[in-house]
């Protein structure tokens, strides 16, 4: 029964990891940018939510209504300026530039909001409670909510990419940038839209993380980015639902690791990550690498 509980907790935590990972995967899939500042952006999302809640007193759960658009605009602007300028030089330059962004964000946060840990307190709402199945399984409503949000985000993204005009353009640009240009598509604008979506999802992830746990300026790189990377690699690069599968596998591995020895939680996740890299480097779901 303990193991069943671990697996359920792991699956639910996987939803959070998928939320971290899908933006990273999208930016890599569309513009081949490995955004090393991705984790820090989640943390920024958390702090922006904190600020918004302090100023407007809206409930934590509804803070995303403001935070997500703000982060999306930031994503569009950053993509059209700094990241595009790096892309125009070479794809490798984007690695250095996003790494630089990460350093700048982290240190700016340390400077302005201090190194103290913060969390987004949800007060005494029902969301803070949990329900039990049997005597050993306790499930937090919050984790269920986060998982549901992750699935909703992925469904929405999939619908957007496959059905909408801009989704079609995003896929076209990812396939062949020059050919898209010759059809009148301004790929820089399309990149901006993709970045806006990625930043929007990572903002959601940041809020979710803030409610679930605590964050500090360094949380972005030492936790979120690494988990997001692991989820993307396990699931398969460029695969949307792969990020959910990757997140779930990572989450379950961590829970089981923690069950064996509480200090092995993170280690177990990385062992699975390494095993996938060695045995199935294209990831669990990737079709492209198989053909």
């Amino acid at each position: 029964m303990v193991w069943v509980n671990d697996i359920i907790q792991g699956i639910l935590t996987g939803g959070l990891y998928a939320l971290f990972a899908c933006g990273l995967s999208l930016m890599f899939g569309v513009m081949k940018v490995v955004n090393l500042a991705h984790g820090d952006l989640a943390v920024i999302g958390g702090y922006v939510a904190l600020g918004v809640i302090t100023v407007t007193h809206i409930p934590v759960l509804w803070s995303f209504v403001i935070v997500v658009p703000v982060m999306a605009v930031l994503g569009y602007v950053l993509q059209r300026t700094v990241i595009q300028a790096a892309l125009d030089r070479s794809v490798l330059t984007t690695l250095m530039v996003t790494f630089g962004l990460s350093v700048v964000i982290e240190n700016a946060l340390l400077e302005f909001v201090s190194a103290n840990s913060q969390s987004l307190g949800v007060g005494n709402a029902i969301i803070t409670r949990s329900f039990s199945i049997g005597s050993q399984i306790q499930i937090a409503y919050l984790l269920v909510l986060i998982f549901a949000v992750a699935v909703a985000v992925l469904l929405g993204l999939q619908y957007f990419l496959s059905r909408s005009k801009y989704g079609r353009m995003i896929r076209a640009v990812a396939d062949d940038r020059e050919a898209a240009q010759l059809s009148g598509v301004d790929y820089r604008h399309v990149f901006g839209i993709a970045a806006a979506i990625a930043f929007g999802t990572v903002a959601l992830a940041g809020i979710a993380y803030g409610m679930y746990s605590q964050f500090a300026p360094t949380t972005g790189t030492d936790t979120i980015l690494l988990f997001a990377f692991a989820a993307v690699v396990i699931g398969g690069l460029g695969s949307l639902w792969g990020t959910l599968l990757g997140g779930v596998v990572l989450g379950v591995a961590q829970q089981i690791g923690a069950q064996i020895n509480i200090s092995d939680e993170v280690l177990a996740g990385y062992i699975v990550f390494l095993a996938v890299l060695v045995l199935r480097p294209q990831g669990l779901t990737s079709r492209r690498a198989q053909s």
Binding site: R168, M169, D175, Q181, L182, V185
Partner: protein
Amino acid sequence: MSEQPGEPLLEVRDLTVHHGQLRALDRVSLRVFPGEVYAIIGANGAGKSTLLRTIAGLHRPTEGSIRYDGRDMTRVRPERRATGGIAMVLEGRRLFGSLTVEENLQVGATYARQGPWTIERVYELFGWMRERRTQRAAQLSGGEQQSVAIGRALVANPRVLLLDELSLGLAPVVVQRIYAMMQQILASGLTVLLVEQDVSQALRVASHIQCLLEGRTTLEGRPSEVTAAQVEAAYFGLPPGRHGGAGSPSQGGPGGSGGMGNPPRSRGGLGGIVPPGETEREPLWSGSTTSSRGS
């Protein structure tokens, strides 16, 4: 030289383009008038594709200018040229492989100008396309992909259509079929600037030809005005004294250089289809584009 009335729709003046140190185009000029089919011929590496890609905006010229419809386009971004009415079919088809046939056409139509071409009309032009519209473009054969690529350019309703090496890597039958479609395409009032390594094909469809050799223009004129020997000399860069007659160069090394990287069937097409000494040529647009006179 040009008895054409009015202004050229597309005018390229003294265009020089460098790829790094290499001078790919050296002061090339051309004037394309509305309704023309203007063919650029030349061997591999002559700069034909570079010329087309520069007109479309994918390369930046070091010198020279590109005017379209009376406007200077030299520094305009490619997507603005596309929405302005310059469409291009890239060499090697370059479809969006993970998108379906229909989605490829939809992307082409996203920023379309007003005009006669719709996705529906492309389906009518290429009969097979409608029932396979949900198939991924990557799963199509080369010829089918080429048709979709042409359709994708057409639905934008361009005024000038740039076609880069339509015949490359396709079976001769397929090439004939695609060129046969050209008349229907031209009937909608398009102007075509095409690059073709298969000289016989180019001579058959073109109203004006221009031959490039190592980035320079070596011959220009109406197909009825130039002789096969002139074309041959311009194509291979032979001294003007060696017109036709004995020792047809297409059987030697130079013929091979024209077909580098191509399927063997298109190799030496020049020599086979326009034999040295032949002076008569099919009249333009005689409806014989599907004739089996080719290789």
